[in-house]
């Protein structure tokens, strides 16, 4: 199978990062039908990307309640990525269009409140885009590394 190699933005540095360096924890909500399959394809194609991401599989990007995102940030995630099918390609016809409306508002509100825009990101990855998935992961990891460990919204128990 001829799959284009990931344009590794920072992949090499990420993979060779020393153990004592800070590694961001990134939570990725991926839709079952596109982005999760995209991640799968990246895996079987042996594309390399940063190991910082924890994937949570959801039936559809519309299943992602904005509460999940802030909850992840509260529980100490350094970044949150939500990814689903491209608009128009949703397995449930219109799920991602509904989701897109919610996400636009969520993103803008969190930014307004003062959460760094790099922390919460949204994207579309289809099942055939393994390379795009690896690129996306590297991009998000690089972004989150740039802003550093999450401090805002994180819950510290007394």
């Amino acid at each position: 199978m001829d799959v284009p190699a990931a344009k590794s933005i920072h992949a090499k540095e990420l993979l060779t990062a020393q153990n004592d360096e800070w590694h961001p924890k990134i939570v990725a909500f991926l839709c079952n039908w596109c982005s999760y399959a995209g991640a799968d394809l990246a895996g079987v194609s042996r594309l390399q990307y940063g190991p910082n991401v924890r994937i949570i599989r959801v039936p559809c990007s519309a299943r992602v309640n904005p509460q999940y995102i802030v909850k992840a940030l509260q529980n100490g995630a350094d970044g949150v990525l939500v990814s689903g099918c491209h608009p128009g390609d949703c397995h449930y016809i219109s799920g991602n269009l509904v989701a897109r409306r919610k996400f636009a508002l969520t993103k803008m509100l969190l930014e307004f409140v003062g959460v760094e825009p790099e922390r919460v990101q949204f994207s579309w990855v289809s099942a055939s885009e393994g390379g795009r998935f690896a690129d996306l992961m590297n991009r998000v990891i690089a972004d989150v590394r740039r802003v550093g460990p999450a401090k805002r919204l994180v819950k510290h128990l007394p």
Binding site: K7, P66, Q67, V70, K71, Q74, L81, P87, G88, S94, L97, V98, R100, R101, K102, F103, A104, L105, T106, K107, M108, L109, L110, E111, F112, V113, G114, V115, E116, P117, E118, Q121, F122, S123, W124, R132, D135, L136, N138, R139, V140, A142, D143, R146, R152, L153, V154, K155, H156, P158
Partner: protein, 354 residues
């Protein structure tokens, strides 16, 4: 003016109740402390207690959903018909009623709305602050200072105070910010409309949001976290809000415990973020949450933000149109991919630059 309003509203309520068109009338009566009128639920014998003045700031729509509640899991037809209720509504109350009707929380057929063209309501805190400023040292005693307040025909507010005698304020100076910015002071679609003029519609007050957005992320976060550090999680903002009608709030769910119940800064902030998010496409900017907050947290900045975003992105503003679908109840193929991270584009993710 307000005396005429009082007389008119009393007459209308009396007629409606006596003719049996409504079983209950919701309006305002004189409050026990100056500068506040309190919501009143009256039947024919008590219509004389109704008043209408510049202190009727509360959003009366908040009381309506409970009259139209149905048993959960109801199979049979409702045995009793829905109660007939009359309610006095300003522009913002009317918008709330329309929003609640869309969400099936209010049966518009059995609701009789008496629209009051709104001249703006007086902000108790602004008056208190002005009185406190006279005193010079702190505002703690301001609430005790004010003994009596009344409006004059010439658009002045006269406040009798304990130590400074009678102070006179220009009405415009002490109006609530939401009234100064209000775009819909005239309740459209009311069943009965009181006579008189509404104030000139304002500009919506988006300038403050744009101004605030120009600040850096750190400054915005500092402001948010400082404001919310005062939060005592009393949930008054939620209770006062007409659109917060969920039987079980996410903040109190325990089977799926979203947030703690304490006032840990993170919990308080997340409560407010989600509460504001839930207002997307529903908030009518009545500022009930802002008025209800005992800690005077600047909630109106954040509710205004979500109203602005919904209008900017989806071109939707919850007004008087009962047919328009709320933006999050539907979807469209509008171009709103501006916030999507695209790894094929070289530029790294930045702010949405709203």
């Amino acid at each position: 003016m307000s005396n005429a309003r009082t007389a008119e509203i009393q007459k209308i309520a009396k007629d409606l109740l006596e003719e049996g068109k409504v079983e209950l009338f919701i309006g305002f009566q004189e409050g026990t402390v100056p500068l506040r009128s309190r919501p009143a639920f009256v039947q024919a014998e008590a219509v004389e207690s109704l008043v209408w003045d510049s202190f009727c700031a509360n959003n009366l729509a908040v009381y309506l959903p409970k009259y139209y509640e149905n048993q959960p899991g109801r199979r049979k037809k409702r045995e009793k018909p829905y109660p007939k209720i009359g309610v006095a509504a300003k522009g913002c109350d009317m918008r709330s009623i329309v929003a609640l009707t869309k969400e099936r929380q209010v049966q518009r057929d059995s609701l009789l709305v008496v629209g009051v063209p709104c001249e703006g309501m007086i902000d108790t805190r602004k008056v208190e602050a002005a009185v406190a400023a006279k005193g010079g040292d702190g505002g703690a005693a301001a609430a005790d200072e004010i003994l009596e307040a009344r409006e004059t025909e010439a658009g002045k507010l006269e406040v009798t105070t304990r130590s400074f005698g009678v102070l006179s304020f220009d009405r415009e100076e002490v109006l609530q910010d939401c009234c100064l910015e209000c775009r819909f002071p005239m309740p459209e679609g009311a069943d009965i409309l009181l006579s008189g003029q509404a104030r000139k519609p304002g500009d919506g007050g988006y300038a403050r949001i744009e101004q605030f957005m120009k600040k850096s992320s750190e400054e915005r976060w500092d402001y948010f976290s400082t404001e919310l550090s005062r939060c005592i999680r009393c949930n008054a903002c939620r209770q006062a809000c007409p659109t917060c009608w969920c039987k079980e709030c996410f903040a109190e769910q325990t089977d799926l415990k979203w947030i703690g119940v304490g006032n840990t800064p993170s919990d308080a902030m997340i409560f407010q973020i989600i509460r504001v998010f839930h207002q997307a496409g529903r908030c009518v900017e009545c500022d009930a949450c802002y008025r209800a907050c005992p800690m005077h947290i600047d909630l109106r900045l954040y509710t205004k933000k979500i109203v602005k975003d919904v209008e900017d992105i989806f071109g939707y503003l919850p007004a008087f149109d009962a047919e328009a679908l709320p933006p999050l109840a539907t979807f469209g193929d509008e171009q709103c991919d501006f916030f999507i991270t695209d790894p094929d584009k070289a530029e790294t993710a930045e702010g949405t630059g709203q």
